[in-house]
Amino acid sequence: DEDVKENPSAPTYNLSEYFKQFLFPQNECELHNFRLSFSQLKWDKWIIAPHRYSPQYCKGDCPRVVGHRYGSPVHTMVQNIIYEKLDDSVPRPSCIPAEYSPLSVLTIEPDGSIVYKEYEDMIATKCTCR
């Protein structure tokens, strides 16, 4: 208040603007839901099960200080600093899946045989910045 009395022309503080810079980025890197059914891809003639499949995906900005909160290697920090201080043609770290879970699929083969198979890395379960 003293500042304002002494020189009324000083810019009035917009507190909400001021605090905005401390909030976590709204669209920070995180896992997003996505669910499809094999009939949408017209694969339900030969994929018997499951009927629906949720591969999920990662999207969002990587915060400046990724640290091990995202399970990121040290290189991510290096890349971020290069982008910020040395050369902004180097892209910022990207938000990508870090861990997956498998999917069991039951399919019909062209010769009429049927196969049950468990595939690795078919559902994203965790994101990271790299």
Partner: protein, 296 residues
Amino acid sequence: EAVSERTPELLLIPEDESPVLPPVLLLPPGVRNGYALLPPLLKVLSDQRPHSWEGESPRLQPDSRALRYMKRLYKMSATKEGIPKANKSHLYNTVWLLTPCAECKHHPKDQIKEDLHSVDLLFNLDRVTALEHLLKSVLLYSFDRSVFSSSAITCTCHVAVKENDPSGQVCPNVLQPITFNLHFEIRRHKWIEIDVTSFLQPLIASNKRSIHIAVNFTCLKDDQHHNSNLGNSFNMALVPPSLLLYLNDTSEQAYRRWHRRKNPVWSRWRNNPLADSLEEMGTENMQYKRASRHRR
């Protein structure tokens, strides 16, 4: 085009090698033309031709009872969302149900007497890759229970594996027959499973591309032991068996529940002095921000 020294086992297919293959396909270690070995789902996913799956060649429809059996196996092995269930008996990550691709008539010379229901079956193993190791193999008989009221029956099943006949005939000579005596209640079973694992193990391990099996299946109801024409109608009700192969696929794209991944990345931050100074540099202005945030 330059594959880094660190990962010599990963192969990039050079552009000019085979235009049919997707432009770049990282193959599992030691597999040159792995595209052909990819399981069906991954083939479609890696196929770059737009909507290639829609123009897919028509598929032979499997026997409805075999399909019902595999759906039941799926429900036992995975959740509704398709996540594999973790239980001790579930060691397989692949199960093939093969339908016989040729039924041969029996040669008169080795006709087995009392032969009410005997067939020679040819199973094609082209889809089973060398990376899929056999855990268990079963001949699967399904029968229509409406043919019989509920009662107990006794069956005798002779199974003989056949060597490939050098003359290329479809049905070569019979070798090493084995007899299974089965006794079961019709009302409680829709399926009869005959374990032929020890039988087929050496053939599959030697990467045979097809298997000939002669099966002679005779059943009689316990209460009418002498009325063989009843056994006859039962045998007529039997459709040719399917061959079930429970396998452990050791390839990269298969889910191996006991295969542990490397330790998580962040544990390597601890003993890296550079990481600390980088974190300092990265957080210098953040420090101030974080401090004021705490105060707030």
